[in-house]
């Protein structure tokens, strides 16, 4: 990409950078949580398929971090590994643990929560990308088009699990309904664009939060009809607004782990 094409009006740059951090941190944290499931999924073949989705998603994060390199804030690796929790812009839903326990000790991870979180997020991501493809910042529009390519599979995968488990008799349905409530409780945090949302819209970077929310709800509605569930409105931000830097101790733990080796020998080449 030429220097000229990476250019964006300086007045709009702060809003752009905010948006890019949201996109990057969202995918990075969710991929991180997904990678903790390695070897622990309900079924070997699914463990393998899920890992591909996590790799794809981390790859998406890397693309956004690479766009951010243009703004002199650090390399993609630094942006991914070195920023403290207060600077992170991911939705809090995505930093929540997979369940009680730790990925190396007593991992009592919750597949229902994972399926619902992944499905809801993927749907919201899809709507967001549709909008980003028309972004005034061309490099971002191009990345969005690329990410869309892989998202079709993610949607098919999670939609299938969501419908099959929620329609299964007995315990499964109960667990899925609880998971839906838990995800909904923080889902507004995914849909929000934070304090600078209006600015982002003004600069043509992305459509407004309300429009995106409406479209996401419409996109999720058919799945809810398929499983015979009432719409779980409204969505909340129970654990805070990650877009504004409000995070949980779970994020501190995640960041400590994911940056452990990175920080162990500063400036090293790995």
């Amino acid at each position: 990409m030429s220097e000229k094409s990476m250019y964006f009006h300086p007045d709009g740059q702060e809003a752009l950078v905010e948006l890019l951090f949201q996109l990057a941190d969202d995918d990075f944290l969710l991929a991180y949580r997904g990678s903790e499931w390695l070897g622990l999924a309900p079924h070997i073949e699914e463990d393998i398929a899920f890992s591909s989705i996590n790799q794809d998603t981390m790859g998406h994060a890397a693309m956004y971090y690479q766009l951010l390199e243009e703004f002199g804030l650090g390399t993609a690796d630094e942006l991914a590994h070195a920023r403290p929790a207060t600077e992170r812009r991911n939705a809090v839903l995505l930093e929540l643990p997979n369940g009680p326990g730790h990925y190396l000790r007593e991992p009592r991870y919750d597949w229902a929560f994972t399926v619902v979180r992944q499905y809801f997020y993927t749907q919201a991501k899809h709507i967001r990308l549709e909008s980003l493809r028309k972004s005034a910042y061309k490099p971002l529009a191009e990345v969005a088009a690329k990410v869309q390519v892989e998202l079709h599979y993610h949607l098919l995968h999670w939609h299938t699990w969501f419908v099959q488990l929620t329609n299964a008799p007995g315990e499964a349905r109960t667990r899925m309904i609880k998971a839906i409530q838990d995800v909904a409780a923080d889902f507004a945090g995914v849909l929000t664009l934070g304090a600078r949302g209006a600015e982002m819209e003004r600069w043509g970077l992305i459509e407004g939060e309300d429009v995106l929310t409406e479209k996401t709800i419409a996109a999720l509605a058919p799945a809810f009809a398929e499983v015979g569930l009432e719409w779980p409105m409204p969505f909340g931000m129970k654990h805070g607004n990650g877009r504004n830097g409000e995070h949980t101790p779970d994020l501190d733990d995640a960041l400590a782990t994911l940056s452990e080796v990175y920080r162990s020998v500063p400036q090293a080449i790995w």
Partner: protein, 323 residues
């Protein structure tokens, strides 16, 4: 009916056995539904099931480093590698399942055998991986050892196993390169990185020697190598494989300036073989009995996950979906 024009079923067990041996000695492949001697089936079940669960358990030492990998690219690379280990486990467990089907055993049985410690897994995967250098070393030298044993079985008489191994060996090339890439960065890095690497090698060397199994039955009391050679599942002995491993890897280890924790290691030209210090084979026996440093901890991860997720499998067993 097709059966009436065939004469195979009218042969005696001895005659069938002889025909079978002639088939495999002629390089023919045995398929899942073919007649096979009980000894052949049971030997393969043991070998393939152990190989399968070793891959599945083998994902765990490296899994520790997936969230912690120091760059985006390394996180992705190690995710892909661990995914491949699960993938290899999947291929092999499918082969084992089809072999066990006539005995009425299923995947759930194999998993339970692993969790109840009736089924053993390779010694290396019981060992700790306390640093990032261990993660790199596993990709480099443990996979290197696995490549030795797996390439040796590419012409295995049992078709499904040979085909699975072909897929596995193709992916091992990436594993070797992934491991080497990490190791080279450490070997060329800071003092801390170099020390980390040397310490990892010191930790793993004995386990790598033991990976190939005892040289003879006398060392540990049993050795399956004679049967697996007789049935053309593999061609080289444990010691041959270990020697080949030294030939391929010791020069490279030394080239990077690393030292082996065995100062006796050298190639004797007259004898045409590597002279080295034997590992503690008593320790090997203990490890294989699931008393290795990490055996129980890793098995416990699997036990917990399996139990936690039982509801998923139960839910979808009952469901008859449309279309």
């Amino acid at each position: 009916m097709m059966g009436t024009i065939m004469t195979f079923t009218r042969l005696s067990e001895d005659e069938k056995h002889e025909l079978f041996m002639r088939r495999i000695e002629a390089g023919e492949k045995i398929e899942a539904d073919d007649w096979m001697p009980d000894e052949y089936r049971m030997t393969l079940i043991k070998l393939v099931a152990m190989h399968a669960v070793s891959e599945i358990m083998g994902a765990l030492p490296e899994k520790e480093w997936v969230p912690k990998a120091p760059t985006l690219r390394r996180k992705l690379g190690i995710m892909a590698k661990v995914q491949d280990e699960m993938g290899h486990g999947q291929l092999l467990i499918r082969v084992a399942e089809d072999l066990m089907a006539p005995l009425g055993k299923t995947r759930e049985d194999i998993i339970q055998d692993l969790l109840n410690e009736r089924l053993k897994f390779h010694n290396v995967f019981h060992m700790p991986a306390p640093t990032w250098a261990d993660a790199g070393l596993i990709g480099w030298l443990v996979d290197g050892a696995a490549i030795m044993t797996q390439t040796n079985m590419l012409d295995a008489s049992y078709g499904p196993y040979a085909r699975a191994l072909k897929r596995i060996c193709a992916e091992e090339v990436f594993h070797a390169q992934h491991g080497e890439s990490i190791i080279l960065a450490l070997a060329e890095g800071t003092k801390e990185q170099k020390d980390m690497l040397q310490e990892a090698l010191n930790r793993w060397w004995e386990a790598l020697l033991m990976f190939f199994g005892p040289p003879t039955a006398e060392t540990t009391g049993t050795s399956k190598q004679d049967i697996t050679i007789k049935y053309r599942i593999r061609t080289k002995t444990n010691e041959q494989l270990r020697q080949d491993y030294f030939t391929k890897y010791v020069p490279r280890i030394w080239a990077l300036g690393l030292k082996l924790p065995d100062e006796t290691m050298h190639f004797d030209k007259t004898q045409g073989k590597w002279i080295y210090r034997q590992p503690d084979w008593e320790k090997f026996k203990e490890i294989i009995r699931n008393n290795g440093p990490k055996s129980q901890e890793r098995l416990e991860l699997r036990r917990i996950a399996h139990k936690q997720n039982a509801w998923v499998r139960e839910a979808l067993s009952a469901v008859r979906t449309v279309g």
